[in-house]
């Protein structure tokens, strides 16, 4: 009797032949990625509509003139400084998040707790800055459906769209930061309670990390299209 196996009977071991995960990514993480993809479509829709509006209007408020205050320090004359601080805070909190993920790979509970706390602090600081900025703009006369009386004639059309879109888009982003902070707090509590230690894997930290980095990613685009361009 021959012991050779015919090619048809040979067990297939390729990635797409069944029996193993072709993506080699855990289910929940794939779902987080697909959720973020759908969220990217939502944010793109907002930002692209903003672009289309800006393209269609004859005039548009100059960001260097709209955003030139540092709340509590100076009323005008410092374009981009305050938003620069906000951007730095968010990038920094993204870094502390990756450091938490990295600590999770080593199952170092104490370090995960430490970096998660810093991430939450960063998120809260960012939200605080945004609250200050919104308050300042509101005092100047910007809000949904309103803009300062300094805009007259044809300038009012662009100013109205600018005000609406600014509060809608930064508000939607701020809402993401807020939920991100809440989820981070939940994950921090679970880490403290030793849930992941028992489970033997800190994969959940990675999943909320993906969400947190996505929030940072969106801010990079909001920053460019509202404050720079």
């Amino acid at each position: 009797m021959s012991t050779t196996v015919s090619p048809l009977d040979r067990v297939k071991t390729g990635a797409w032949n069944g029996g193993k995960s072709p993506f080699d990514v855990e289910y929940g993480k794939i779902m987080m990625w697909f959720f973020l993809l759908s969220d990217a479509f939502t944010f793109s829709a907002f930002l692209i509509y903003y672009g289309a509006q800006r393209f269609s209007k004859l005039t548009w408020p100059d960001p260097d003139l709209v955003f030139q205050s540092i709340p509590g320090v100076a009323d005008h004359g410092y374009p981009l400084v305050f938003v620069g601080i906000m951007t730095f805070i968010l990038i920094m909190s993204s870094v502390t998040m990756v450091l938490a993920v990295e600590a999770g790979h080593r199952n170092a509970k104490k370090e995960v707790v430490n970096w998660m706390i810093w991430t939450i602090v960063g998120g809260l600081m960012f939200l605080g800055c945004q609250a200050l900025e919104w308050t300042h703009l509101h005092h100047e006369g910007y809000w949904w459906g309103s803009f300062p009386a300094s805009y007259t004639g044809v300038d009012t059309i662009g100013a109205l769209q600018f005000a609406n879109l600014f509060f809608t888009i930064t508000g939607f982003h701020g809402f993401h930061v807020f939920t991100g902070v809440l989820i981070n707090i939940i994950i921090l509590s679970m880490t403290l309670a030793g849930v992941f230690e028992k489970r033997g894997s800190y994969l959940m930290v990675e999943k909320v990390g993906l969400y947190w980095h996505f929030v940072d990613l969106v801010w990079v685009f909001v920053f460019t299209f509202f404050y720079l361009v």
Partner: protein
């Protein structure tokens, strides 16, 4: 990803942001580059930042090819939408104002 790599990516992101500020606060006000060139530079730099965040912080660079493709290829729809809506915006600029 090692701690060294994380901080390296952080400094890239910080450096790119600093470069954007340099363009916005020095090069454009001094008239060294025009607004058009500046805006083009901002968008390119933003995409570079986005690449570093997605590839390294979100770890996509180290996933399987099939997974990377399934995420990245879907973004074609966004590019198509940008082209559509900006064309629409330009049309409205010509015909409504």
């Amino acid at each position: 990803m090692t701690k060294g790599k994380i901080w390296q990516v952080f400094f890239y992101l910080l450096g790119i942001t600093a470069l954007e500020f340099f363009i916005a606060l020095y090069l454009i006000p001094k008239g060294i580059v025009s607004h058009g060139v500046g805006n083009f530079a901002y968008i390119v730099l933003t995409l570079v930042k986005a690449f570093y965040i997605v590839a390294y912080f979100m770890h996509l660079k180290f996933e399987k090819f099939a997974f990377k493709t399934s995420i990245v290829v879907s973004l074609i729809f966004i590019i198509y939408f940008i082209i559509l809506m900006l064309t629409e915006g330009s049309y409205m600029h010509l015909h409504m104002n």
